[in-house]
């Protein structure tokens, strides 16, 4: 169904140009971060456009790796990403599995009460007080427990479970499998694409989250990576006043090297995203 009129050709060309510019504009900041991070401080200041590095200089990275707080905040973030995602998945799978059985008594009302939390919330301060009263302020659990289930992901999971043919589960029950056995031996292996997608959603959330940390982590030593970065990128005018006359503290190459260090792990999950997540979006669009 190709048409070869001039109007169409012009449209196609403009379309390709517009979309290419859009893609380049999206990529540009990433490129500039990379180029700046491998420039020397003097080299960075000497050039106007940071499209190509004048010379490759890794001083900024050496500085970052020695910086106090980087590795400990990295550790916190890795912990909440790994443990947080495991807990997320455990709860999302078990809750989603039971709720997918719509003829089980009570699941409808529970589902309603869960969806209601998407529509209405007590707000920031009451949630803060719950975390405070649980005594988990300034611990990693304050970053894990309040977000143990995302209702949106729960619904995606539930819808996926509902799409598995009932007859497979029924035959397993006839063969003497318990409900828990069915879940672990049959339903979970059949749901790997959805589980992979939702795990990635959760992991990316934990890696990037700083809102919860702003609320619940006041102790500098317990900061996750994003808070460490925030103070480096946005507060270093203040810290440079107390930190002496090290010119590097304000240097863009160092800031950008820090961004790269936080960026690389998340970018490396990108190929996996590519594989699974369009599928995940489609699962989510199934109405339930």
């Amino acid at each position: 169904m190709k048409e070869r009129s001039i109007g169409n050709r012009i449209f196609n060309t403009i379309n390709v140009i517009v979309l290419t510019i859009l893609a380049l504009a999206t990529l540009y900041p990433f490129w500039e971060v990379l180029v700046s991070s491998i420039s020397s401080y003097e080299g960075y200041l000497a050039t106007d456009y940071h499209i190509l590095p004048t010379e490759v200089d890794l001083t900024a990275y050496k500085y970052i790796f020695r910086m106090e707080g980087l590795w400990s905040s990295y550790g916190v973030t890795i912990f909440i990403t790994v443990v947080g995602t495991l807990i997320n998945m455990l709860l999302t799978i078990t809750t989603g599995y039971v709720l997918s059985k719509e003829d089980l008594k009570g699941t409808k009302i529970i589902m309603f009460l869960i969806v209601f939390t998407m529509l209405f919330s007590g707000g920031l301060i009451p949630s803060y007080m719950v975390v405070k009263n649980l005594g988990i302020m300034n611990t990693v659990w304050a970053l894990i427990m309040p977000t143990a289930i995302s209702t949106y992901n729960l619904i995606i999971m539930k819808n996926f479970f509902m799409s598995i043919p009932k007859s497979i589960e029924e035959s397993a029950i006839i063969d003497g499998c318990t409900d828990i056995g069915v879940l672990f031996k049959i339903v979970i292996p059949l749901s790997m694409p959805a589980i992979a997608t939702i795990s990635l959603f959760y992991a990316v959330y934990h890696w990037n989250d700083y809102f919860q940390a702003v609320l619940y982590i006041t102790n500098r030593e317990k900061w996750p990576l994003q808070l460490f970065l925030r103070s480096m990128l946005f507060e270093n005018e203040a810290s440079s006043m107390s930190g002496g006359d090290d010119p590097y503290l304000l240097g863009t190459p160092i800031k950008m090297a820090a961004v790269m260090v936080a960026l690389i792990p998340i970018i490396s999950t990108y190929p996996f995203f590519q594989k699974y997540f369009v599928k995940g979006v489609m699962i989510g669009s199934v109405k339930g």
Partner: protein, 317 residues
């Protein structure tokens, strides 16, 4: 599903109670699996909803939520008398509406443009690239923005100067700051939403297009009569969700990007609640604002959904 549904049909009350217990016992493993999830929702969602009652109390940390004396609508009355509150409320609505009006059509347009491409490979590359910023935290993205929008060294201002303009203080000039917030948010989000529309478009039957070509429909007619109607449901659902989030002007973004020079135009309800509650310890007042926000969100979402249903569109529930 496993024969037990027949057990439940009983007439007498004691018998039905017993059979309900038997029913639960028979499905005990399933109910057991539900327990952790229910505990989570009670602790982290329903207890805070109860905790929101401190908006109607004079909250005192020592006395706790239950022990604090009731104060009626005192905090709300005080709030509505504050100029600051109105300014913050106005900022929230302005920023949100700007984001909605400018940002909502963007991914639809990009999805339509992508859909018109005939080279699959190019389409895939563009699609892959544009949703990249979605996976970056606002801290990191903010760091990138500060660099590219800087008045002295940022590429955007260099281009403006090269074209003969004056450098713009995107992040420091109150006149431009809201636009900066709006367009950078769109910049970060449009790709992700484009993919959602693309997923909806991938379900469109290509025979429809072939038939339309045979009938002599041109490109615009095909977009108007086939492509758009096919993603109408997705558009409506996303629009309802956006309207339900109108009070959410983007805490994470603003908290990273704002600075004293632009507080006046960018202080929103969330940042105000955060400062009042957590920095100044005015828990009741801050909770009152939070509750005010939740109620408005709730009403907006319900109304948008209702309107969508009246127009015979699928709502979100």
């Amino acid at each position: 599903m496993n024969g037990l549904t027949t057990v439940k049909k009983k007439s007498s009350k004691t018998k039905s109670n017993r059979s309900l217990l038997a029913y639960i016992w028979f499905h005990r493993y399933l109910y057991l699996l539900l327990v952790p999830g229910i505990i989570y929702y009670i602790i982290f969602h329903y207890i805070p909803m109860y905790g929101a009652t401190i908006a109607f109390k004079d909250f005192n940390i020592m006395k706790g939520i239950i022990g604090s004396p009731w104060a009626g609508f005192k905090h709300f009355e005080y709030l509505f008398s504050l100029n600051k509150f109105f300014q913050v409320f106005k900022n929230t609505i302005i920023i949100s509406l700007m984001r909605l009006v400018c940002g909502f059509p963007a991914p639809i347009i990009v999805a339509l443009l992508l859909n018109e491409l005939s080279k699959m490979k190019f389409k895939k590359v563009i699609q892959t690239v544009v949703y990249l910023p979605h996976f970056i935290s606002w801290v990191i993205f903010g760091g990138m923005l500060v660099t590219i929008l800087s008045a002295e060294t940022g590429i955007v201002n260099m281009i403006i100067v090269a074209l003969g303009g004056e450098p713009i203080g995107f992040l420091t000039d109150p006149e431009y700051f809201r636009w900066t917030l709006v367009w950078t948010a769109i910049y970060k989000w449009f790709g992700w939403n484009t993919v959602i529309y693309m997923a909806a478009l991938s379900g469109v039957d290509t025979q429809l297009y072939e038939a339309a070509v045979i009938d002599g429909a041109n490109r615009w007619q095909r977009i108007w009569h086939i492509t758009l109607p096919c993603i109408k449901g997705t558009i409506v659902v996303l629009l309802i969700l956006r309207i339900g989030n109108l009070m959410q002007a983007g805490f994470e973004q603003i908290y990273v990007l704002y600075n004293p020079a632009v507080y006046r135009v960018s202080d929103i309800l969330d940042t105000y609640v955060y400062r009042l509650g957590l920095s100044e310890g005015k828990f009741s007042l801050a909770t009152a604002i939070g509750l005010f926000k939740s109620v408005i969100n709730f009403v907006l979402l319900i109304s948008a959904n209702k309107i969508a249903r009246m127009m015979e569109q699928p709502g979100i529930y």
